[in-house]
């Protein structure tokens, strides 16, 4: 430190910045970049015999030639997109209400109510749904008691239940960015919209939604990623027909000891999510930096 800081001030500053960024870089490198490189390398090899591997594209070829994997992949993507859309459709009015109609304490209370389900683990939340929806569960018993249903009603183990679970799990991640972006919308813009002849629908379409677009995009990205990568909810609520791509990856890694194809699947999932997010951003004319910033 003897070479005076005044002389090499710039250098010291840069060094300081480097020092500050170092833990982040280390974290990114050790926990994100390095495993992915390894994952990629593993996905590019084929097991020849005990402990012997060779470079090969067989894992990827297998994915594309086996309709089961391919179907699961597409099904997961489509259902994730649909779940994201549903979350948006339900979350938007809720966020609008919180941001524009509630003031002070009421706002905090509502916000907190959205947060409360996240104080328990995802597993417990999912089991909560199972207790409600199973054949001998609360809802089924209520329907029988009230005479709406004659016998026990099974509401678990189908796609609609998966959807309910996914939307419920993701709701907060949609509401938080939406509330913050709607909060920043000047009330007078909405009033001006009405004043100039707009009605509820056109004001929402022409003013509120365009303003909220960055929040909508970031909420959708987060929800989509969470949904696509969800394992517990589709697995537990979907039962015998759940068919989620993360399950495939889990199965390949853990049950089949087939790290090679598991890695390939993992990589394909990464490509899929990146691609869909990219297309979504293009379609909504948003940029990633705007959405994140």
């Amino acid at each position: 430190m003897s070479n005076g800081t005044s002389v090499k001030g710039g250098g010291t500053f840069r060094f300081g910045l480097l020092l500050l960024a170092f833990p982040l870089m280390l974290w990114l490198f050790l926990l994100v970049v390095l495993p992915h490189i390894d994952l990629f390398l593993v996905s590019m090899r084929e097991r020849i015999s005990y402990g012997k591997y060779e470079f090969s594209l067989i894992n990827y070829i297998e994915f594309f030639s086996e309709p089961l994997y391919w179907n699961t992949y597409v099904r997961t993507a489509v259902m994730s997109i649909f779940a994201t859309f549903l979350t948006l459709v339900i979350g938007f009015p809720v966020s609008y209400y919180i941001a524009k109609f509630m003031r002070g304490k009421g706002k905090n209370v509502l916000f907190l109510m959205c947060l409360i389900p996240f104080w328990v683990s995802e597993l417990v939340r999912t089991f909560g749904w199972m207790i409600l929806l199973r054949e001998s569960g609360v809802v089924s018993n209520f329907l029988q008691w009230s005479g709406i249903a004659d016998g026990p009603v099974e509401m678990l183990y189908n796609d609609a239940t998966i959807m309910v679970g996914l939307v419920y799990t993701s709701m907060l991640f949609m509401i938080v960015p939406l509330v913050s972006v709607l909060d920043s919308l000047d009330d007078s813009l909405i009033e001006a919209g009405y004043d100039l002849g707009g009605n509820g629908f056109t004001v929402t379409r022409d003013i509120v939604i365009p303003h909220a677009m960055p929040g909508i995009a970031s909420g959708c990205i987060v929800v989509f990623m969470l949904t696509l990568g969800n394992y517990l909810t589709p697995n537990l609520l979907g039962g015998k027909d759940s068919l989620w791509f993360t399950e495939q990856i889990y199965t390949q890694f853990i049950t089949r000891f087939n790290w090679e194809s598991g890695s390939a699947f993992g990589f394909l999932l990464l490509v899929l999510s990146s691609l869909i997010v990219w297309v979504g951003l293009k379609l909504s004319k948003q940029t990633l930096s705007e959405t994140v910033g």
Partner: protein, 369 residues
């Protein structure tokens, strides 16, 4: 008779719980006039305007536009449009889209919209700005677009909520003139609310001075300035020297007032105000009504010492302290430059006519402009 007024309010009251924001206001605005509502912040003028626009409903009373009641008519169905305080231009649309917004809502066909938008942009002096983004406009240009966005709809009444507040001083001065001119050209009725008396005086045909939910006085700017009817108006509109005092006699034309600080002033007796001897009053004299060193009327005279010379070109003035009572006063310097040599510390004699001196029964209101 009703249809000669574009806008009429009849005994409009607006209460928020216990608080009465607008207290029994009645007004009638003739076609094509520029009407201002002038008042300090919190006087209820914004609430009144929002009731006119339809964002709030009056607790009681009636609002009529072009002779028919608009109570229960939502904002998007009222033939009035509003220029918001911060303009509220839609940042997600370009200039042309902003202006076209209202026409689109009315289902006007595209060709007509394009033509009307161009006409209106030309009328506000920004003919080529259609494709620009809102963020590319200067403050004054935004102002004009905000007005154009309303005018394109041919509203019966244009409501303006202190739209000049956000501009810098120079631009504000400029826009005042421009707005007045624009209103004159298009002939639409403007209702303009502001707390800036100069905006109201310069632009308006009629000004309503509002205080604590009520109209203190409605009249032409000249009337408000030269013939204020209440102490609040005298204090709020234009600059004044003000004293507290007690009525100490006088005749049919004049009132003699003994000032609380000592000394005596003769003021004009207002026919409407019955002032009795011993009643507490407030006395107002405009700085420009006071003559320096004995020219003109000499109903009131006093000598004073110059404390400060506030040179501001044509609007230069002196701050003086009265020799006997120590009361501070402001005296306008004649624009001729006669007293250009006066400097701090000089002793001068001041005089003014009783007709330029107004007195009102004292109120609690302490607002001054």
């Amino acid at each position: 008779m009703a249809d000669q007024f574009d806008l009429e309010c009849r005994n409009v009251v607006k209460k928020f719980d216990d608080f009465t924001a607008v207290d029994d206001i009645s007004l009638a605005i003739p076609k094509g006039s520029f009407f201002s509502i002038l008042g300090p912040s919190g006087c209820g003028k914004t609430t009144l305007l929002r009731m006119l626009a339809g964002f709030q409903a009056p607790t009681s009373g009636d609002i009529l536009i072009k002779g028919s009641s608009v109570l229960g008519v939502p904002p998007n169905r009222r033939p009035v449009n509003m220029v918001f305080q911060h303009l509220a231009l839609f940042p997600m649309m370009n200039v042309a889209e902003n202006v076209a917004y209202g026409l689109k809502r009315r289902g006007v066909n595209k060709a007509t919209i394009a033509q009307k938008v161009n006409e209106t942009l030309a009328r506000v002096g920004l003919p080529d700005s259609g494709p620009k983004q809102i963020s590319q406009l200067s403050g004054g240009q935004k102002q004009r677009i905000a007005i154009a966005r309303c005018l394109v709809l041919d509203p019966a009444v244009l409501l303006l909520d202190e739209p000049l507040g956000a501009l810098d001083l120079k631009l504000r001065e400029h826009m005042k003139v421009e707005l007045k001119q624009l209103q004159h050209e298009i002939g639409t009725t403007f209702v303009y609310i502001t707390h800036d008396q100069s905006e109201a005086l310069v632009m308006s045909d009629q000004v309503a001075v509002m205080n604590a939910g009520r109209f203190e006085q409605v009249g032409a700017p000249q009337d408000l300035y030269y013939k204020p009817q209440t102490a609040f108006v005298a204090g709020f509109v234009g600059e004044s020297n003000r004293w507290h005092g007690v009525v100490g006699g006088g005749n049919d034309h004049q009132v003699e007032i003994n000032l609380a600080a000592g000394g005596k002033v003769v003021a004009k007796r207002d026919a409407n105000a019955a002032l009795k001897d011993g009643q507490a009053v407030e006395v107002f004299v405009r700085p420009e009504a006071i003559a320096i060193d004995g020219e003109g009327a000499v109903d009131n005279t006093l000598s004073a010492k110059v404390e400060n010379v506030l040179f501001n070109g044509a609007a230069s003035s002196l701050q003086v302290r009265e020799a006997t009572t120590g009361h501070e006063m402001t005296v306008a310097l004649p624009q001729t430059g006669t007293f250009a040599s006066v400097k701090a510390g000089d002793n001068i004699n001041l005089s003014w006519s009783f007709e330029q001196t107004r007195c009102f029964a004292a109120s609690d209101v302490g607002a001054t402009a």
